[in-house]
Amino acid sequence: MQCGICGGKSEGSFCELHKAAYDNLLKNYEAWKKSMKVSWTEYLTHIKVNEYAGLWVKEVAQHLLATDSSKQQGDQKAESDK
């Protein structure tokens, strides 16, 4: 399989490096949700432009925002957050 972002080799949707960035995004969402009270989509939008966010993290955020399935997933996540 190919990474949906860089086209590199992958076993799932992302290559090893983008997968690590995605995992970090998931891991840190709780902290953002608690302190900023943002939905998953809002979170990704913030991360996409944050000066301290890593390049691969920004690429994953951009990719997730641009992917319909991710929007649905995000909305579901936001719903479940409520």
Partner: protein, 692 residues
């Protein structure tokens, strides 16, 4: 009775000249040249000295199997460099001249740098070019190239060359060759088999783990997700002066919590509830070892470790400083520090400072823990430059001189104050710091970083007016990237490489394209290469084995371990790694070749095409016309015709910026001897109206 001939072997032509001058009774040695190789004839104590220079290493360790497509190879031997390296053909005549000049000598003296490399290169020349004279050669040991020290060293010759150091040096050369050649061959052979092209890919015993440090940091930075936190930005006004204060809780996890503090404190006066004052002594810095000099030079002048090392080497060759490749932070009592200071006092800018130290009865340096069996720390010889120094040399010499003076000076007396100001139950800290007695700092100016925050007289219970109190939105930050200086420090801390090789290894990472920029960011090629090595031969990028070998080499130097045992051990560990690489040659080759291709492509990519919006702008060299231009990758797919001419002479490179008027990329054009010119690539850019 016939005059006895003494053959003196030096490391470089410049040291040979200096040694010949110092040893000649009249200070006027006769310079001769054979086949454009300089050598000197001098007379001392009734003996005729032939002082000859090497050109650094004249011999190298090479595999017996020279076919670059064959690996693993475990049989290595010393061969003249001109045999093994294409760009070392010039060294052939040096070997010949040295061999011829050594023939008539009755006595042999090795006068190369007194360190592992100097000893090893001298040993190989004495053994192979001079016909096994390594066993009978005597040794000159010196740490500066001053006339006095060189004469003293000649008068107190060591009976033989330092064989245990040489054993360690030889071992290092064999290990580096065994690892470097086998691994690099495995990588290039694999990539060539897949792509049909020869690609320069390399790794090594120290290079692999060093790149891994950078890759690990790069991964942390690029996968970093910042998390928000809040802080209080506050200041107070005392006697018309504004001071920043720090809130007791530097990080808060919610804005509400921070806002509550601001709301409670806004517009209110605070009261000093506590004043803590501390006076303390700060000792002078310790003498420079090479690493500390490199770190300080990077910090003040932004010189890379390699550059500092090269500058220090030139200062050493000019006899202005002692031997710089040292780990020592000591100034032994054998060094006449008083005489050095007296001599430095002849330089107007150091006069008053040197005299201040000379007025002390005793000069006691504040030494560090670092030790080096071969040399003391870096110190000025006391010689003043005979001609004006270039800017970099002048700066480094000044730094070394001031550091030398500072280490003999008194501690500085400093005072710190922490004032607690309470506003409505919330505590803020006001920090003050002040130098009460400058001590050593006077000598080390301008290389002092401390900045005073002098507080006015304050007392407990005093009311303090708040100037500002506001909420600050903050985010956690990723770890900082290494720079060449911090990377060198990391290598030192991890115990890999030597003081002589570390800076060079960092340079290689840049030359190979694995790393770029001042902040040492890892390229995709660097990431991909490390990724492949980690997958197929993790031991190569792991630090533990390299560190173990470094320890073994130290043991060889101390006479506790045998060279052959260490080499054998390393070969036994390397063999299965290479077998594994061979097993995966095809997939590894594909990954490496693709990584190299991607890197080559990326080097040519200047930016995105503004015309089609999907293609990339790349610098193209037309095979048909030989001309270069900037074109869109969409051209080859018939999707876009964007192309721009580039100057056909000189150097053209993208500057990484876009034109502020039209948004197309900017380039820098430079021809030899002319100032660079930055221009927008678009010929009809409106910014060029005025020129037309």
């Amino acid at each position: 009775m016939a005059t006895q001939n003494v053959f003196v072997l030096c490391e470089k032509p410049s040291t040979a000249e200096r040694i010949a001058k110092a040893l000649d009774e009249n200070g006027k040695p006769q310079k001769k040249e054979t086949n454009r190789v300089p050598h000197y004839e001098t007379f001392r104590g009734g003996k005729r000295l032939v002082v000859v220079a090497a050109l650094g290493h004249l011999y190298t360790v090479a595999p017996k199997v020279t076919d670059r497509n064959v690996y693993p190879v475990f049989e290595f031997d010393w061969v003249p460099r001109y045999v093994a390296e294409r760009d070392a053909r010039d060294t052939e005549k040096w070997v010949e001249v040295i061999a011829n000049l050594s023939k008539g000598a009755q006595e042999f003296i090795l006068a190369t740098d007194y360190d592992i490399e100097g000893a090893t290169l001298g040993y190989t020349i004495l053994k192979y070019a001079c016909g096994e004279k390594d066993k009978e050669a005597k040794r000159m040991k010196f740490s500066t190239l001053t006339t006095e020290e060189l004469r003293k060293s000649y008068g107190e010759l060591h009976e033989h060359i330092e064989f245990s150091t040489i054993e360690a040096g030889v071992c290092r050369h064999f290990l580096d060759a065994m690892y470097g050649i086998n691994l690099s061959r495995a990588m290039t052979v694999a990539a060539k088999q897949y792509s049909g092209k020869y690609l320069t890919l390399s790794t090594g015993r120290v290079q692999g783990p060093t790149l891994k440090f950078l890759v690990d940091r790069e991964k942390k930075i690029n996968t970093f997700v910042p998390t928000p936190f809040w802080a209080i930005k506050a200041s107070v006004e005392i006697d018309g002066q504004v001071f920043e204060v720090e809130y007791e809780k530097p990080e808060m996890q919610s804005r509400e919590e921070a806002e509550a503090v601001v709301n409670a404190c806004h517009g209110k006066k605070g009261k000093i509830s506590e004043i803590e004052e501390k006076k303390f002594h700060q000792n002078p810095p310790v003498p420079f070892d090479l690493g500390a000099l490199q770190a300080e030079a990077y910090s003040f002048f932004k010189y890379t470790p390699r550059r500092t090392s090269d500058i220090a080497e030139r200062l050493y060759l000019e006899a202005l400083i002692s031997y710089p490749r040292t780990s020592s932070q000591k100034l032994p009592s054998t060094i006449n520090n008083r005489a050095i200071l007296e001599s430095l006092a002849n330089e107007p800018k150091y006069r008053s400072l040197a005299q201040l130290l000379l007025s002390e009865k005793k000069l006691v340096p504040n030494e560090g823990k670092g030790e080096d069996p071969a040399h003391p720390s870096i110190y000025p010889t006391g010689n003043l430059p005979s001609k004006a120094l270039g800017d970099p040399e002048r700066k480094i010499w000044d730094l070394i001189v001031r550091r030398f003076m500072a280490v003999f000076s008194k501690p500085a007396l400093k005072q710190s104050a922490k004032v607690t100001i309470t506003v409505d139950g919330y505590s803020f800290f006001l920090h003050g710091k002040q130098v009460l007695e400058e001590g050593w700092m006077v000598f080390y100016e301008p290389f002092i970083r401390a900045e005073d925050v002098v507080l006015p007289p304050l007392e407990k219970g005093q009311e303090i007016a708040s100037k500002e109190v506001a909420v600050e939105d903050k985010f956690t930050k990723p770890p900082a990237r290494y720079n060449p200086s911090s990377l060198l420090k990391k290598m030192e801390d991890e115990g890999i490489g030597t003081k002589a090789t570390r800076a060079g290894i960092i340079d290689t990472l840049y030359t190979r394209g694995y790393v770029g920029g001042e902040r040492a960011s890892v390229s995709e090629l660097g990431l991909d290469v490390t990724n492949v090595l980690e997958r197929y031969c993790p031991e190569i990028v792991s630090i533990s084995f390299t560190r173990e070998l470094e320890k073994n080499m130290e043991e060889i130097q101390n006479g506790k371990e045998k060279k052959d045992v260490v080499i054998e051990k390393a070969a036994v560990r390397l063999e299965p790694v290479l077998t594994e690489m061979k097993k995966h040659q095809e997939t590894m080759g594909q990954e490496l070749a693709e990584a190299a291709k991607k890197a080559q492509m990326q080097q040519r990519v200047v930016g995105s095409c503004l015309q089609c919006g999907t293609g990339k702008l790349v610098i193209v060299h037309s095979r048909r016309t030989g001309k270069r231009f900037l074109g869109c990758t969409g051209y080859f797919k018939g999707q876009c015709k964007a192309s721009f001419p580039l100057p056909q002479t000189g150097t053209v490179k993208p500057v990484g910026k876009v034109c502020g008027v039209c948004g197309w990329p900017m380039f820098q054009y430079q021809t030899k001897g002319k100032r660079p010119w930055v221009f927008c690539v678009r010929p009809d850019c409106p910014s060029k109206e005025a020129r037309r």
